[in-house]
Symmetry: C2
Subunit: 168 residues, 2 copies
């Protein structure tokens, strides 16, 4: 397979992959494009590579920046803005984990803390089932929170070699 075809396949698959994770297709495709491009790209480059409008590129690039997955680059002497993506996949994963933890896990933990205060007699099987679920989620959620914090701070080799010990 030729490079151009392979790139196209990668971009399409990364886009489809993203949609399974609640990320819009275009944002994931732009991310793919930045991952595989050695040099920074302009918004026009992305419009052309993905066949999408200026507004679409602009919004999604800014979203990617918000996720910490892309950044603006100033090239001396150039008028236009350029953008690059983090190339180290381990760092990409850590960044995504960090953001999703902040955006989703933390609000979920806040919710269960609140729902834990629900009134009612546990001898009522409905009350009990509800409270058991909430407590189960809280316990596992807090544990996930700590685990993910460890991952976010970890160096790849440290994390991998620690995990390896579990596989034996």
């Amino acid at each position: 397979m030729k490079l151009e075809e392979a790139k196209q396949q990668f971009i399409n698959s990364w886009g489809a992959f993203g949609t399974n994770w609640g990320i819009n297709r275009t944002m994931a495709q732009i991310h793919a494009l930045l991952l595989i491009n050695p040099d920074p790209l302009t918004q026009d480059d992305m419009m052309e590579a993905l066949n999408i409008s200026r507004g679409n590129v602009n919004m999604n690039v800014r979203d990617l920046i918000g996720w910490g997955l892309a950044e603006r680059v100033i090239l001396p002497g150039e008028r236009k803005e350029y953008f690059t993506g983090e190339k180290d996949i381990w760092k990409v994963v850590k960044q995504i984990v960090k953001e999703r933890k902040k955006r989703e896990l933390e609000p979920m933990l806040q919710l269960v803390d609140k729902l834990e205060q629900t009134e009612g007699d546990r001898r009522d099987r409905h009350v009990k089932a509800f409270m058991d679920t909430i407590e189960g989620i809280k316990k596992l959620g807090k544990y996930a929170d700590k685990t993910l914090d460890t991952l976010i701070k970890a160096e790849e080799h440290w994390f991998v070699s620690n995990m390896m010990k579990m596989f034996k």
Copy 2:
């Protein structure tokens, strides 16, 4: 807060949470409903609790069964079908991990195996950047695959206590 209000909040939040993960709102809400209900429910119960149509319940319950998160229950003497959900959150998490690994990680690994065959001279910076990305994803993907297999097979207490050692 009263039980009914708390249940409603939990169902709504679980639904919203699902949409961030590429899972449709109704499926996540039905799952929430099954999580917090001590007894099996009929499709009519779910229609009423969530204010949705029969067809919608039916499709989403079957999807949940496909994900291994709900199952049909036969109650002796009852004409209607009943459904329950797994209550143990650790098992729920393992089941979701197992399914997403099969549906997403494995196809992704197949893709990178294929894209690794891309022709081209690595002295070309574009070829090199592409191949580096693909190889990075492959390496981390294979590692994730093993880690998740360990998680899927693990007992909660074993897994937790192993992870604890990393936090120290």
